[in-house]
Amino acid sequence: MRSPFALVAAIAVSALVLVGCSPSGGEMVEEDSSIYIGSLYEPQNLSNTQGGGQGVTEAFNGNVYEGLYRLTDDGEVEPLLATDAEKSEDGLTYTITLRDDVTFHSGKALTSADVKASVEAVTAEDSQSARASAFAVISGIETPDETTVVFTLSEPSISFLYNLAYIWIVNGEATDLTTTEDGTGPYTLDEWKQGSTLTLTRWDDYWGEAAKNGEVVFNYYTDATAQNNALLTGEIDLITSIQSPDALEQFDDDSYTISEGTSTTKELLAFNDRVAPFNDPLVRKAIYSAIDTKKLLNSIWADYGTLIGSMVPPTDPWYEDLTDVNPYDVDLAKQQLAEAGLPDGFEFTLDTPSYDPHPAVAEFLQSQLAEVGITVNINTISADEWYTKVFQERDFEATLQEHVNDRDVVWYGNPDFYWGYDNADVQQWVAEAEQAATPEAQTELLKKVNQQIAEDAASVWLYLYPQIVVASADVTGYPVNGLNSQFFAYDIVKS
């Protein structure tokens, strides 16, 4: 800017640019654009009660299907298809009023019968829904009129409305929901090309605010490098979840936006608490203190991710920082091992799922535990084998696994769960928390659960995954928090 002319020209150009913008002062937004989203999680089928997996939640939740309630990107529960909910004094009856202006994509109007059918699909015997056990408390569903549903519970359940946010309201008369859809969301399914793409088209008869883009195309990859290349060459606009920090370097310029949100995915070293020596809390605590989780997180995720001291991520209402309960302290670990009668350490087999990041984590643990005399034999197994060997047959000593859901600390209250943590106090607190009269009472009880499981080192909570979205800089409006794998696409715009 040495000559005055250049300065004047620059100001003039800036003014022109400003004039060219929309009234709000933002950049020009492309109407009806197509948004191309890259993901590694293709749906297995299109039903979330028949094993569609993480992929169908990502593509369909809030986009194609809606619940009575919605879990916002910040973790708040707000009404969606419901307008009002009334809870009886004893907490055993919920009377829910539905919106009366909602139709399914097939054209049928939403009625209370559809809500009843949708909830029954979740609690049905052949249901694969992760919420099936949470809804075991429902003892009856009445539909006194077209817009009213009355749920009767066998015992109070403070998470009832929260759990309803996970239930997709489907057309109760639809016959095939594994390969087709009939929801009420802002998009309809245009086409699912298996192994390649899933296309959602904006639905013009949507009851609420229309989607801001015309079409959303999920592109599925089996190879993370191929997915990164697609973003680099502009074939896709954003990646829902980056799985390696190494990949981020190539997006480190003005053409891309890297966002780190909060995830609920925890990496666990889970012991089989039933078998010796892991039935002794001292041994588990010794292992916890022998592991430098900070160094581990750094080696896997560089500067991303969060350390946690129990099963609870910061977005759960009952979170508190418990990372000091089992500090990294090799001397303490040795001392605890000696107290447990194992001064020379011992040997165990770590069943390690073959996909990232587990093998790298296993090797890290192997070298760290060697320093306190513990020999780790790494046994690599497929994800599928894990379910048979570890999850069902409980034929393991210790294993690595990621647990993706929020509010899942309650599994420590179930002594039959695969890790076999059995503490009567914890079981009672978990049960009481669910029957609590107020959220405050629930929070208080679950905090006690956190403290107790941390004190007992029920498992080792290695770290909380980061949730990293990388997008082309001309794309905005996408959700940044990967809560339970959902990815609302309706506000995404291209400029």
Binding site: G53, A132, T178, G195, T222, Q227, A230, D384, Q392
Partner: protein, 320 residues
């Protein structure tokens, strides 16, 4: 020729049945259960039982096999365990990518290897003859996915003239776009494949060059080129055609790897996803179809050899 043809056909059918049994049994020996792909980490015992009922893995093995074999007799490959979509139409749509990919790569490899192989043989005393021999040695040593990654790096990320992967959503509706998507994968397979093929062509050409009939032809006044064309091609082709059959089948296998590098939704990616999810219906479908492909190629190669070489026609014995 007719008795041979019938014998050869019977051999094909028996091979297919044996392959089906082997595929079925080997899959069942894998640890794990196809029902597991449907589960989440908080599944209840009831949910596990329901998933096993859904995929049929709670049935006795013999019953599972005869259900499948019965479907096969009706040319029905069943439904996917996981997605519940019928397998046969899915395979058909995947073949729309894998078949053109395989055949184009094969054709290109053939052209490259014939040019390189013959030149390397005839001009083995010149520097470029040696260079071409070296090229084929190098090609054999290089893994196919690596060639794919390098090509993407140069032509997609660097020059930006070709897509880094994927296939148009409307398949072949716009043939130019579809072909553009196949250019890099085709070159990847063809480069690697032509390297090994070129060695066979070169060896066959050297044999022909050293043969008595060629010397006689040249003594009769023919130039080298004319002699090779009139007498050499047919003789040299016999061993090469046998190899071609095997190579074409290998190309199909190469497609599995290349489809993954280029995110092409072909047969290979269907197989990989199927294995990951333990989706036996899909895996069996893909394996049976590709086995049939390999057997048919072998069949055609054998017949082709006999058409080229009359001496083989008399022999009934053997399958080669």
């Amino acid at each position: 020729m007719l008795p041979y043809l019938l014998r050869r056909l019977a051999f094909l059918v028996v091979s297919l049945v044996v392959a089906m049994i082997v595929i079925f049994v080997l899959l069942r020996l894998l640890p794990g259960d196809p029902a597991n792909a449907l589960l989440s980490v908080d599944a209840t015992p009831e949910q596990i039982a329901a998933a096993q009922a859904q995929v049929g893995s709670d049935q006795p093995l013999a019953q599972q096999f005869f259900t499948w074999a019965g479907q096969m007799l009706r040319f029905d490959l069943g439904d996917s365990y996981i997605s519940t979509l019928p397998v046969a139409p899915e395979i058909a749509s995947r073949l729309l990518i894998t078949l053109p990919l395989t055949l184009l790569a094969f054709a290109l490899a053939l052209v490259i290897s014939v040019i390189v192989g013959i030149t390397a043989a005839v001009k083995s005393d010149r520097w470029y003859g040696s260079v071409l021999s070296g090229f084929s040695q190098l090609g054999i040593a290089v893994p196919v996915f690596w060639v794919g990654i390098i090509l993407v790096w140069i032509f997609a990320l660097g020059l930006g003239i070709l897509p880094s992967g994927g296939f148009p959503r409307d398949d072949w509706e716009d043939p130019t776009e579809a072909l553009r998507a196949l250019i890099l994968p085709v070159i990847t397979i063809a480069l690697v494949m032509s390297a090994s093929l070129a060695r066979y062509v070169r060896a066959a050409t050297l044999d022909v060059l050293g043969s008595d009939y060629l010397r006689t032809a040249r003594a009769g006044g023919s130039g080298l080129g004319e002699a090779l064309l009139r007498h050499g091609v047919r003789n040299g082709a016999v061993p090469v055609v046998a190899i071609l059959g095997i190579e074409l089948s290998t190309t199909l296998l190469g497609a599995v790897v290349v489809e993954s590098v280029f995110s092409l939704p072909g047969l290979g990616s269907m197989l990989l996803t199927g294995i990951e999810q333990h989706d036996f219906a899909n895996i069996q479908g893909v394996l049976v179809v590709s086995t049939l492909f390999v057997l048919l190629v072998g069949f055609v190669a054998d017949i082709g050899q006999r058409l080229i070489d009359p001496r083989l026609r008399g022999s009934v014995a053997g399958n080669r």
